[in-house]
């Protein structure tokens, strides 16, 4: 297939996935803010949301202080924030539009329909009860688009590049969510979570739809190390890094070309390290450092995939 087509498919999927993850992060914060917490805690939580996407600097250039309204406006609607939900859905749609002939009509209509509907939402509509409903809507549109993708697309290269985009983006987002929340909740690197933290940790789990999963897998109290294990190493957890890398590696193997051997090797290496990794080792060496290195490797894979397949080489 055309390199440019693959590029659009890959970014279409990445932006849709990013919109979903941002909605998840904001949704959890919104729920948390309904629980008793100090003003400082609340500000920290909303600030962490910005930090997850690396957008603190951009935010402070535009807003005097952190408030739920300001963060929501910035992360959902702001046209200058390339990662606002609105811009992600627009970018997903623009990429789909550029290759609409490659998509099934259902997938194109889903992506186009999501964007058309997004244009109707306003910050005022999110002000009161509307925000939770809005985040649900974003998640469902993302679920729908993934379902339509799997349910209607021919299992050829197009689908592989869409899946690569989805899982690389998800790996990146899950790693960021874990890292920032971990630092926020365990500032001194202590491993024991007190009772007061229960809501915080369960909120983190809920943000990646992992609360029930946690219960089912561990049948025990929520501890930070297990949360980290679930999100990093459990291959059966659909949003974990291990799962994402397994999918990245599998999809990459389906599209290999003459110059992609090293990319394939690196993806396989990372996948194996996650599969055989132990959470105790990771926590002992410091989770933050581990995640920073992990994000670097995910980024590296993204760059290499772009070089090998997507960016036309003259």
């Amino acid at each position: 297939m055309l390199s440019r087509t693959a590029d659009h498919l890959y970014w279409m999927a990445r932006y849709m996935e990013r919109a979903e993850n941002i909605a998840r992060i904001l949704d959890v914060n919104l729920r948390m803010s309904m629980m008793p917490q100090s003003a400082v805690q609340e500000e920290q939580a909303w600030g962490a949301t910005l930090r997850i996407m690396g957008l603190e600097g951009a935010f402070h250039q535009r807003y005097a202080e952190i408030s739920p309204e300001a963060v929501l406006e910035f992360m959902v609607f702001n046209s200058e924030n390339p990662s606002s939900v609105r811009n992600c859905l627009r970018a997903a749609r623009e990429n789909a539009h550029a290759v609409r002939g490659t998509l099934t009509s259902e997938l194109w209509e889903t992506t186009n329909g999501t964007w058309l509907k997004m244009r109707d939402f306003t910050p005022e509509m999110l002000a009161d009860a509307g925000a939770g409903e809005f985040f649900e809507w974003v998640k469902y549109r993302s679920h729908l688009s993934r379902g339509v993708t799997i349910g209607t697309m021919l299992q050829d290269e197009s689908l592989r590049f869409i899946r690569l985009g989805t899982f690389l983006e998800r790996a990146d987002n899950t790693a960021r969510i874990l890292d920032v929340k971990y630092q926020l909740l365990l500032p001194a690197g202590e491993v024991e979570g007190g009772a007061a933290d229960y809501y915080q940790w369960s909120a983190l789990l809920r943000s990646v739809s992992a609360f029930e999963v946690y219960r089912k897998v561990y049948r025990d109290l929520i501890t930070p190390a297990r949360v980290a294990e679930l999100l990093l190493l459990r291959v059966d957890m659909p949003r974990s890094i291990a799962r994402c890398m397994k999918e990245v590696y599998a999809n990459l193997r389906e599209v290999v070309n003459d110059q992609s051997a090293e990319t394939e090797r690196r993806a396989g290496e990372l996948e194996a390290q996650l599969r055989f990794g132990r959470i105790d080792d990771i926590v002992r060496d410091g989770l933050h450092n581990y995640v920073v290195r992990l994000l670097g490797r995910v980024q590296d894979l993204g760059d290499r995939i772009a070089d090998d397949f997507l960016v036309p080489v003259s």
Binding site: M1, L2, S3, R4, T5, A6, E94, H97, A98, V99, R100, G101, T102, S105, W108, E109, N112, G113, L116, E157, F161, V255, N257, D258, F309, L310, P312, V313, S314
Partner: protein, 472 residues
């Protein structure tokens, strides 16, 4: 301006429903207006969701709009269509022979049927094509011929579009929409199907591949997602199952065209290009074109790739060449034209110019190279000031204009805000020339939605209708 005397497609002079509309008219009369309003809203919503839109240039650039779709079909009886189809085949055959002749021996010029400077000084004449042989000697593989109906219902050819005629996707989508909205009414008629068009197009394109290529790779070339006709480009590529490429996706090596794919370069044999000659190859035509492929012209001249339509086809669809098409048919085919031209005054001729200047208020004046309904004067609809402003332009550059009588275009009942009312229409059938010359029954019917308006172009507030050719 309201034209009082025009041919009504549905009813005759006495107001009686014409036989081929009878079943439809009775069905329509049983349909409450609320239902029609609801169906029209449904159609709009579906077109929006499907993204069947076009982009508008100029102000509001970047906005995508729907082409208004009218839910009342235009119906053409079988015998009328047979005549039209024969006339269209004849005309397009002659046009292709003309282009071939112009770029080779130029017999028609030497025989004195067309003034040589008319052709050779024409901006659409491409000297680089002189002496170049193309597959099957065919140039305009896809032609869109605009047909109108005037007077007592006679058909006339208004213009030939041989460069990158568009609109066929709306022909196909309109039919799908009608079948979805009103499935039952189709049981009352034998409407000739149109959905074979993409297959016919692909076969046509494959049949004009460079000689010796066994299993040719066909692509559709688009200027990109922001082009006004992008929906159609993507649609046709998808329906044919071929790649939709932009200039940046292709490169030329050793006079061979390749596209860049995720598995490395792949050879391209036939390019259905939806981009003007000027932008095809920055090393040969416009240097500032970022849409083209450097070296494409050289590969083309070497016969290693087919461009569809051929470079230089525009020499035959220029409005200053149009008056000579009947002459071409006689000259190349030895036949009398089946379809008539609209009488045309060539403003570059002093006599014609003085007639045109004296009758500006009655005539339609068009730019010779114009398209899309821009830069034209519809005399009877224009204000005095507009007519005078145009007169000044005309006197300064008479060679740029032709003029034609204001035709009382036929009208078809159309569902507008005021209810069902007649609106003026035209018809663009699409003629494919490859191994054989063929066409899909019907074409795109465009309708001027404003009362009295004669301008059907989508850029000027025109809409479209489904076109039914009845089977005999």
């Amino acid at each position: 301006m309201t034209i009082k005397q025009f041919y009504n497609e549905m009813t005759d002079e006495a107001g009686r429903v014409r036989p081929h509309y009878a079943a439809y008219a009775s069905w329509l009369s049983e349909m409450p207006e609320e239902r029609l309003v609801q169906k029209r809203a449904e159609a709009d919503a579906l077109f929006h969701r499907h993204g069947i839109t076009f982009a508008v240039y100029g102000e509001n650039a970047g906005i995508e709009r729907l082409i208004p779709f009218d839910i009342i079909p235009r119906i053409i009886p079988a015998d009328e269509w047979q005549t039209l189809a024969a006339g269209l085949r004849q005309r397009v055959k002659a046009l292709n022979l003309f282009i071939r002749d112009i770029y080779h021996e130029q017999d028609i010029l030497r025989a004195g049927h067309i003034p040589a400077e008319q052709v050779l000084n024409n901006a659409q004449y491409r000297k680089v094509m002189q002496g170049v042989d193309v597959a099957r000697d065919l140039y305009a593989h896809i032609a869109g011929v605009d047909i109108v109906r005037a007077g007592k219902g006679e058909y006339y050819v208004l213009e030939d579009n041989l460069r990158v005629p568009s609109g066929v996707s709306y022909m196909l989508e309109n039919r799908k929409m009608m079948m979805r909205l009103f499935p039952r009414v189709f049981s009352r008629y034998r409407v000739a199907p149109v959905d074979r068009y993409p297959d016919m197009l692909l076969n046509t394109l494959r049949s004009v591949a460079p000689t010796g290529v066994v299993d040719p790779t066909v692509v559709v070339m688009t200027p990109g997602a922001y082009n006004s006709a992008y929906f159609e480009h993507a649609f046709l590529a998808q329906q044919m199952g071929v790649e939709l490429v932009e200039g940046q996706d292709m490169f030329v090596q050793d006079e061979q065209v390749f596209m860049r794919t995720t598995r490395g370069p792949q050879r391209v044999d036939v390019i259905y290009r939806r981009i003007d000659d000027d932008f095809l190859d920055p090393t040969a035509f416009r240097k500032d074109s970022v849409l083209g492929v450097p070296g494409l012209l050289q590969a083309y001249r070497a016969g290693r790739v087919t461009l569809s339509n051929a470079i230089g086809s525009g020499v035959a669809d220029d409005k200053s060449i149009y008056p000579y098409v009947p002459e071409m048919i006689r000259f190349y085919l030895g036949e009398e034209p089946i379809l008539h031209n609209v009488p045309t005054y060539m403003c570059r001729k002093p006599d014609d110019l003085s007639y045109v200047l004296d009758h500006l208020a009655e005539l339609v004046v068009k730019e010779v190279h114009g398209a899309g309904g821009y830069g034209m004067l519809v005399g009877p609809a224009a204000s005095k000031a507009e007519v005078e402003a145009f007169r000044a332009i005309l006197v300064a550059h008479p060679e740029r204009y032709i003029a034609q009588p204001t035709l009382a275009l036929s009208a078809c009942p159309t569902f507008v805000d005021a209810g069902i009312a007649p609106r003026h229409i035209d018809l663009r059938p699409f003629v494919l020339s490859g191994e054989e010359v063929q066409l899909i029954p019907g074409g795109l019917t465009r309708v001027a939605l404003r009362e009295g308006s004669l301008v059907v172009n989508s850029s000027q507030g025109g809409g479209t209708k489904d076109t039914w050719v009845l089977e005999a």
